[in-house]
Subunit: 611 residues, 2 copies
């Protein structure tokens, strides 16, 4: 759906008007049907890699695909038969000769490339199927997958091609003679002529081009039509041989792969960005649409679409880095926090983002290698990685293996939810973690929490073998032993199993809790999405403390991480006590302000680190 | 500085070993000096766009630059004389002929392209300077800027070139004959031979190539040597004409621009990522280094460096979006917060990141157009934009102008600190803001704050015409009128000028404040960097409240935004009062817990939104 406001639609409208005035060129007449085209017909269409379509002019007029079929059928051959077999049938060298040249490469007998008729005919022979009907279905289906709709054949153009295609017949028989063609030439030509007679409009062709731009995935149907390596080969041949003569000048002036057809269409591919299709029947003397060529030149210049208009950005691969000074979301006692603060520098979190390929992977791995020093724990957070190509995966695995020689720990996190990272995930799980002892976790916060727990356990700060007594609990700091005795009369001890829900979001808040042993996690439910763990509370930490301030509702679920023992204080009970011992309430509230101010400072630190 | 652990160094070491075994090819002997090279010499060097250098083998051996000088001197000509003038002197068409061909384009008399000797000689004539000495200095200086060090000329090779360069002499005189050369051919040839005799090593050449990869900026010296548009033209000609014959096969197998020299060097450019240089004297029959060609093939394949190995990622251009539900950092009263919460949906913040070019700009602007509906305020935060090319700037300006027809407000923020965004900044300030009424602010938080203030003022929630009375202040909620009377006896009223410092980080905390009128900002100093504004407090909001809990030190500076009136409560005073009226302290502390819990919830919301 095009937006009402779009500088791109406006631009195309202006481009249409400007180029419509250019009436140079002649309509192809070598078959009578093509001669019937209206020379003033003119349409421009752009399709983005995510399926946005911009149009100007006559984008619904049907025309036959003609030579614009060549890159796609070449892609078919590569996908079905592999590069090696296809390269025996057809080369990849541009030729100064015209598109319907009969010349073959003298050394190999191959047609020079698949963008000239000889090469395209050789490639069409590779369409699979036992019978001509099956091969026809196979071919039409292939093109339809690129267009995202069922294409059909313009029968009158086909019959005209068949009746007048003597030169192509000569080419086919010459290839039969040299052994390059193995099947009945009439049969191959029949399929070839039908292929050239596929009926399309500008939007179809833009979507087909955009499928190449989107690395082989149709932007409308989201179907993967062509494998990534085959897309590369198709685009290469389009770029060197797509526009007949003037390969050098085309690369200089326009600088993106394109292919024209004698019916007046031109398609162009701007990899990673968009597909372009132009339809305008009048052709220049080498057989390219005059307005089509002009439109490509203008688009390339005005939108900086030349391949060598630099847009590779390897520097923003590291989204941010922070240390253990940004703690996990676990609520810990002041003593624990203070102790952990001394070890903040032992943890680094490095967040990686965007596309991982050689340059960006090199950049981030160099930094990883720099910080992965002795005694360090490094969390590599990949939540915002768009994809990792095979080179990036290889470099990551090799670097990780090399770093296993150092006394450091690597933890890769947040790879689970992105299907594009499936291969990297598998590589880490199968080829890195087992042999290095490094690990992969779903959640960065849990990785940080585990790092902290390990430090506390090493220092025997965490005592899972006992229940913390009241006088060691931060929130009761400063209470006299009398006060503590009074308080302990009002306490109830609760036991919860791992996974048990202790507090329900929305319930009335009547009890406030302190973790006596174990830990609990706090979960919130965000509009129907799966619950999010927003923090956790360890030994000695309070939760549900807002109950102290006249009730209200619980704002989150609290669930036991492990078997947990909690102290529960009924708010009514504490209020009663406070009548006789007012300092109990003031002290607890004062401590609460301190704890919260502490948490707020941590939260602000985290916000600052996140920005 | 190479890291000890690097899969890339390891890879190059292996590549070196593998290819060293390949002893095919012959050393060039057309001038005697080249014949002296050691056929077993072999070095590989990679330089990244940020100046990291990886090496293997004999990277310190000196050799002469020869034809690898051609792309750089072509770049010189483009930069000094412009594309139009240069195109009159030399074409851009690849030719099947060999590098020392005497053939010129019959139509134009031009050499076919600047990568063959004829073209390079024509280009060398364009070196500026009144005298041969000045032209020599100009030329050597030009190359030195690419290498990042002062280069010199191998005099013995130069003399040998001069003595035996009959074929080049023939080419030059033929061009003099057709009028393509205008100066004394001997003079031009002298400079050309010296240029070919520049003495370099593998690292020099890798850095020179990396300068082209980095869009013309030398990665070591950070000097911009070649303008972006000229880099594009140089790379185009390298890609179509750089490796003599087999342009098609080279594009297919390797797929990045490269240039070889008869001394046995090959350079390659992977735009946006790296420069590669290989030195190995034995040449194949078309004059390219055998090991150099193999190394390029392996590197392209093993590191997915082919131009059409997709790595353009237009989707991660939007870093995140959030609404006014994430409020500004201003501390506001509960009533204000509650009121503002109703209007959260009227504000959208959209954070843009990475490189802005056609595809990524289209993506983000489409989203912007979608959300920029009637009555909306949209903050476009550009803090993490790496750069914006001219197309992106144009599209942003046009979209903004088009959106000015809607009843919405656009605010562009966070562009000030990135020098790469200078042009975008100027375009917005000069061409967008004046005519649309949209604005540009340095700070996103201030933009959000202004949005909130406007809503409150519209609703007359903010009363800058009076001082808020004690009984409307959140922190005193629930106090009886007796309590309030008692409290007001302990209050002091302070007046501060705009910009005046109210609290100093590190001072003893003895007074807690409430803003009576105006607003104050909270600033922290982070290790020597410029102070950061982390929040602000509006009318009725408390600050310095931690003083209530037995002193400690101030944790931040507080500065008046505007002329401010504050209530100040001496902590000792309140303590004294509390002896007789204990509920004053409990109530204030309870309110404080509520306020802090509120702030904490906001902070957690923000953290969630930031992730």
């Amino acid at each position: 759906m095009a937006s009402a406001v779009s500088p791109i639609s406006d631009y195309l409208a202006t481009l249409y008007k400007t180029l419509h005035n250019n009436t140079q060129g002649e309509i192809a007449t070598y078959i009578p049907e093509l001669g019937l085209a209206d020379p003033s017909s003119f349409g421009i269409c752009i399709a983005t890699v995510d399926g946005q379509v911009y149009t100007a002019g006559d984008v619904d007029i049907r025309f036959t695909i003609q030579s614009m079929s060549k890159p796609f059928i070449y892609g078919y051959a590569l996908q079905q038969h592999g590069q090696e077999k296809v390269q025996k049938k057809v080369g990849v060298e541009p030729t100064g000769e015209s598109f319907n040249s009969i010349v073959l490469d003298e050394l190999t007998n191959r047609p020079f490339n698949p963008m000239v008729n000889a090469g395209a005919i050789a490639v069409t022979e590779l369409v699979e199927g036992d019978t001509p009907e099956r091969r026809l279905t196979e071919m039409v289906d292939w093109f339809s997958r690129f267009a995202g709709r069922e294409l059909d054949i313009d029968e009158s153009v086909f019959r005209s091609e068949q009746a007048t295609g003597h030169r192509n017949r000569a080419i086919a028989y010459m290839m039969l003679n040299t052994g390059m063609l193995e099947r009945d030439p009439e049969d191959v030509l029949d399929l070839y002529f039908r292929q050239c007679s596929l009926s399309v409009d500008c939007k179809d062709m833009a979507v087909m081009a955009a499928t190449l731009a989107a690395q082989g995935v149709n932007p409308l149907t989201r179907e993967r039509v062509l494998a990534v390596d085959n897309v590369r080969d198709v685009l290469t041949v389009m770029s060197t041989c797509g526009m007949y003569d003037y390969a050098g000048q085309w690369a200089y002036d326009v600088g993106f792969p394109a292919k024209s057809g004698v019916s007046g269409g031109v398609i162009a591919v701007i990899p990673g960005q968009l597909g372009v299709a132009v339809y305008s029947p009048p052709l220049d003397r080498v057989g390219n649409s005059v307005r089509g060529v002009e439109a490509c030149k203008k688009l390339s210049h005005d939108f900086s679409l030349h391949l060598f208009d630099g847009r590779t950005d390897v520097h923003s691969v590291i989204r941010r880095e922070y240390t253990g000074a940004v703690p996990s979301k676990r609520v810990r006692s002041a003593a624990e926090r203070e102790f952990l603060a001394k070890f903040g520098e032992r943890l680094n979190v490095i967040e990686v983002q965007g596309a991982l390929f050689f340059g960006s992977a090199e950049n981030f791995l160099r930094r990883l290698t720099e910080i992965a020093q002795d005694g360090k724990t490094i969390v590599v957070d990949m939540k915002r990685v768009a994809y990792a190509d095979r080179t990036a995966i290889e470099l990551i695995c090799q670097t990780a293996r090399a770093l296993s020689g150092r006394n450091c720990e690597l933890i890769f996190t947040e790879l689970s939810e992105n299907p594009e990272l499936e291969r990297l995930r598998r590589a880490l799980d199968e080829r890195v973690c087992p042999e290095t002892g490094f690990s992969r976790l779903d959640d960065t916060d849990i990785a940080i929490e585990q790092f902290e727990d390990a430090i506390l356990e090493e220092a025997e700060m965490r005592r899972n073998d006992r229940i913390i007594p009241l006088d060691e609990i931060d929130i009761f700091n400063g209470l006299s032993s009398d006060d503590l005795r009074t308080l302990s009369a009002a306490v109830t001890t609760f036991q919860f199993d791992a996974g048990q829900k202790i507090i329900n979001e929305g319930d009335d808040a009547r009890i406030f809790f302190v973790v006596g042993r174990g830990s609990v996690s706090i979960w919130v439910n965000v509009d129907g999405r799966r619950p999010r763990r927003i923090g956790s509370v360890g030994q000695g930490g309070p939760f549900g403390e807002m109950a102290l301030l006249d009730g209200g509702k619980r704002s989150a679920d609290v669930i036991a991480d492990v078997p947990v023992i909690c102290y529960g204080f009924s708010v009514d009970g504490i209020r009663e006590i406070s009548v006789d011992s007012p300092t109990i309430m003031t002290t607890i509230l004062g401590n609460l302000v301190r704890i919260m101010s502490d948490r707020l400072r941590l939260a602000n630190d985290e916000i600052r680190a996140l920005q």
